[in-house]
């Protein structure tokens, strides 16, 4: 089936790319802002698809070329597509903690491996902890509000303690309870 990439949503494109790479024996996990878009139901809109893989860019390049993406350094772009694809350093790290447990979502566009909602919150909070980034805090709140039932706050608290940032975690808790 021929897919028109220009018409895919960020979620469908992520599925499509993940599926294509997996079929070519390149396992990837979606991280970063695209996970926020998916979990916040596009309340936050990212234009980056950040994937983590243990494979090299030279192995990825010919696969993405088949669907019109060209490489510019670490980034892959397709002029018909609003989104850029980036491959960030392996392994998947949430702050100082490595995670090996992922969410798997299946649709007609294929299977997508991505951060669990709770890890996506931690990933955003890491941006807030390290760089005082208010946008990251806002995105963490968006995910929490949209995925409340799937989030274990105690897990986040334990992680925040390990990251020596319990004070900023408490600000997050205050914000989600507003």
């Amino acid at each position: 089936m021929k897919v028109d990439i220009s018409k895919l949503s960020i979620k469908d494109l992520a599925h499509y790319i993940c599926d294509l790479l997996t079929k070519n024996k390149i396992d990837v996990v979606l991280v970063g802002g695209a996970c926020v878009s998916i979990y916040s139901k596009n309340k936050y809109m990212s234009y980056d698809l950040d994937f983590v893989t243990s494979k090299t860019l030279n192995e990825i390049e010919p696969v993405l070329k088949t669907i019109g993406f060209t490489r510019l350094g670490r980034i892959f772009k397709n002029e018909k597509c609003d989104y850029v694809i980036d491959f960030v350093a392996y392994p998947v790290m949430i702050g100082q903690e490595q995670t090996k447990e992922f969410e798997i979502i299946k649709t007609k566009h294929g299977q997508l491996n991505l951060l669990r909602p709770v890890d996506s919150i931690k990933d955003r909070l890491a941006g807030y902890f390290y760089w005082n980034d208010p946008q990251s805090l806002e995105q963490a709140i968006m995910i929490f509000k949209a995925q409340k039932n799937k989030i274990d706050l105690e897990e986040i608290e334990t992680w925040a303690k390990q990251e020596n940032n319990i004070e900023k975690f408490n600000i997050f808790v205050k914000e989600i309870n507003k």
Binding site: Y47, G73, I75, V84, G127, W131, N132, D133, P134, Q135
Partner: protein
């Protein structure tokens, strides 16, 4: 909002920015709020002399942040946090929601 307590608006904006982002430099404050660079620099210097802020050179830029040894720091930051909480939403979005996390050079926005 607390400019009457602090004495002027420039200082209010400087301190709120540092509370929000962790640090600031004169040019950024001047551009963000459309203030005079001279008045921003003067306020920063005053705050450094009175030990509220400390500064360090980062390349050619002088970065200012709160002085962790300032005795009233906890109370001052509580006041600033409260002020940010009650600022109008438009003001927050315009001035206090800047991206501060890193981004790969040349990666399109």
């Amino acid at each position: 909002m607390i400019e009457n307590i602090l004495g002027n608006q420039t200082l209010e904006k400087i301190l709120l920015s540092i509370e929000r982002y962790g640090n600031c430099y004169a040019c950024d404050i001047d551009k963000t709020f459309d203030l005079s660079l001279y008045s921003v620099q003067a306020q920063l210097k005053k705050m450094e002399i009175t030990s509220v802020l400390v500064s360090k050179l980062y390349g050619k830029v002088r970065l200012y942040e709160f002085n962790p040894r300032y005795p009233m720091l906890k109370e001052l930051r509580a006041l600033l946090r409260k002020t940010i909480e009650v600022l109008p939403k438009e003001e927050i979005e315009r001035y206090y929601m800047k991206r501060t996390r890193p981004r790969l050079q040349n990666k399109p926005l």
